[in-house]
Amino acid sequence: MRNKLSFFHTTIMIYMFQSGVVILSMPHILAYYFGTNGWLAVILISLIVNVNIGFIFLVYRLGKGRSVFEILEQSVSKVILFPLYIALAILWTVLGSLVSKDYVHIFQLFSFPNTPPMLLTVLMGLLALMLLVKGIFVIERAATIFFWLIIWMLLLLFAFSYDFEWVRLTPFVFKEGDNFLLGGLNLLKGFLGYELSLFLFPYSDKRTKLIQAVIIANVMITLVYFITCFIAYGFYSLNQLKGVLYPVIDMMSYIKFPFVQRVENLFYGFFMFTNLFSTVAYVWAAKEACQRVFKKVKPGILAVVLIIIGFSAIAIPDVTGEVREWLAFLGFFEIGVAFILPVLLILVLITQRIMGGAR
């Protein structure tokens, strides 16, 4: 068995890392911050993400596929690096766990409002743990199966073909918006997950075509966001979009089948799969970072400890508002990590080259 990731599965896995529940509120975010024809912003943000992927490509090329930890440890003292690893691991563990809690809070808007949210969140934590203990190759295989289980939902968008009105799009672009920068950052959070490809270097070889996989995954997620938001803009008016917090859920509840209606109840369950992978992605990255510090601890035990820490930490934010505040705060931090870490690595690699050349 080839012990490297395959191109196809890596593409799907990165797509699954990126996708999450942000899509449910994305048309609202676009309408609120960008105003008319806000769906165009999806492409702009996607381009910015591609620039960041370009930095990751440079790290991959300059580092010749070496692990980012190896690159850093070659030049920077472990006294500085280990606290940094721990800090990153805490950020990723809590962020990953928070994503699960956010999902549960949204679910409780229409089902199980009286059930303690932590009960449902812990169940998601157990599912994440099931994947984490099996390692990246099983995560990759599972991502593909879950991808097929959810991607068909895009076909549901055809249900709105009769209610889509071109007139709602208006010829004006980005009018009645609020704060482009804040909106852009909020939108960027929906694309996060691709930056974790930095930690896939040791599991890749030439046949993995890692960077190509990340770019294609980003194109896929852009298309999904773009189509969904575009249809939402033609389905709702701008003011409706500004007023509805989760327009995509309401769109799903609009769909009726002969035997079943209010399908958002069922289909929202399927969103658990994408959300699960966001959680798994971050906790897996945290595990990789911790493994460098605690080399003798078995990966399975590290995963259990991280899940316990993460899900204990997210018991603190109680109501949806607090969860969202935490998510916003940690999400902005993660955007910083996504952009700064590759630049830092490029600087380290250039320094290593200069030093190597001088020797």
Binding site: S111, L123, R141, A142, L149, N265, G269, M272
Partner: protein, 392 residues
């Protein structure tokens, strides 16, 4: 020599030489139809408990000098013979060697059946799902050999196992190849639909009637509430009661002679089903759901897989009864994660979906025309990937 005598042969001493003469001819069951893998068209013969007879059934269909047999001894006390069959230059020798080493490493007194043998050597013994596919049909066995798979069977067992196996392989039947390709393909898709119905139908009923009544359209809601208004139990208990009854009927039917088994089916299906609804124990819509998922479970051609799926269904019903659609989604996620982690002789159980091999899909989800079967399944990792060309 002692081993030969213990195996039923005669030792003939002549001067300083000793000859072992095979005069062993124990009473054996005649070659009959398989009870578990019946087909409508195609050959009807099935393996028996005699290893020599089984080997001859395969040799009859595969007159190749490349067909090789490895004989191994299994069981510290019973010393049964296990046979590994493969086609040289088509099967991957890594699989052959791995299988042989696992059989040799077995530490057990006695093994009575091939299905017992595989549980001792499969990759994940604690899993609900079978990881090696077993068959009683010589035509299926030969097709597996030509796919590059490795066969294994035990003397005294009518089952032959093929390794490595994939989850989706359990939904194929030799009948698919004897029908026209379009009918074979439609039947395969039907089986996959049946799989989805089996594991989710009752669970979705429980979930909707317990937590998500708003999902039922108005015109259906009326008949559903009418059928449920006399039932004193929550849908979870109601469903578990009926599912257990169905399982009792199935088990009773399987243990009794065929004629009495049919009577049990009638008594259970009609009398108990009808009476349970009239007595207000259960709603008639649940009876439809339970019966549909039971029928769908029997559409799965492999009995071992069918039994595994039925057990998983109970878990999903309980999760749906406790946590509604959330529980159902979590249950499905747990099953998929478990399946993703399984391997069969080291190769992925979910091949050809993960790892993704689109060229194999035409003999997994559909049964394409034979002229399109130009490659052996990638899971076999055969050194001879291309099949003989067929005229188009």
């Amino acid at each position: 020599m002692i081993k030969g005598i213990l195996s039923g042969n005669v030792a003939l001493f002549h001067e300083s030489d000793t000859y072992i003469v095979d005069v062993y001819g124990p009473a054996a069951r005649a070659i009959e139809q398989s009870q578990t893998e019946t087909v409508i068209t195609g050959p009807h013969d099935a393996f028996t408990e005699q290893a020599n007879s089984n080997l001859s059934l395969i040799r009859e269909r595969l007159k190749s000098s490349h067909l090789k047999v490895i004989k191994l001894e299994v069981g510290e006390v019973a010393k049964s013979n296990a046979y590994i069959l493969y086609i040289k230059d088509i099967a991957n020798m890594d699989y052959v060697n791995e299988l042989a080493s696992r059989i040799k490493a077995m530490e057990i007194d006695t093994v009575y059946d091939t299905n017992m043998l595989i549980q001792c050597i499969d990759d994940n013994p604690s899993s609900i799902f079978p990881q090696f596919i077993s068959t009683e049909r010589p035509d299926t066995a030969v097709s597996k050999l030509s796919d590059g798979k490795v066969l294994c069977f035990l003397d005294g067992s009518p089952s032959i196992v093929s390794v490595p196996a994939s989850f989706f392989e359990f939904f194929t039947s030799s009948d698919d190849y004897y029908q026209r390709w379009a009918i074979g393909s439609a039947t395969r898709l039907l089986r996959l639909v049946a799989f989805i119905i089996t594991i989710t139908f009752t669970a979705v009923y429980v979930s909707i009637t317990t937590f998500h009544y708003e999902m039922i359209p108005e015109h259906l809601l009326l008949s559903l509430t009418e059928s449920r208004n006399r039932v004193p139990f929550p849908p979870l208990y109601e469903a578990l009661l009926m599912e257990t009854t169905i399982e009792l009927l199935r088990e009773a039917g399987a243990r009794l002679p065929t004629k009495i088994g049919q009577t049990i089916g009638i008594v259970g299906g009609i009398v108990i089903g009808q009476s349970a609804v009239q007595a207000g124990f259960t709603s008639n819509i649940l009876v439809i759901a339970v019966a549909s998922s039971a029928i769908a479970s029997f559409v799965v051609p492999n009995y071992v897989m069918s039994a595994s799926i039925r057990l998983v269904r109970f878990g999903l019903i309980i999760l749906a009864g406790l946590l509604g659609n959330f529980g159902l989604a979590a249950g499905i996620a747990a099953v998929v994660i478990h399946l993703s982690g399984l391997t069969s002789l080291g190769s992925s159980y979910l091949s050809p979906v993960a790892p993704f091999h689109s060229s194999d899909w035409k003999d997994v989800f559909i049964r394409a025309p034979f002229s399109l079967f130009t490659r052996r399944p990638s899971q076999s990792k055969s050194p001879n990937k291309i099949r003989n060309k067929m005229r188009k």
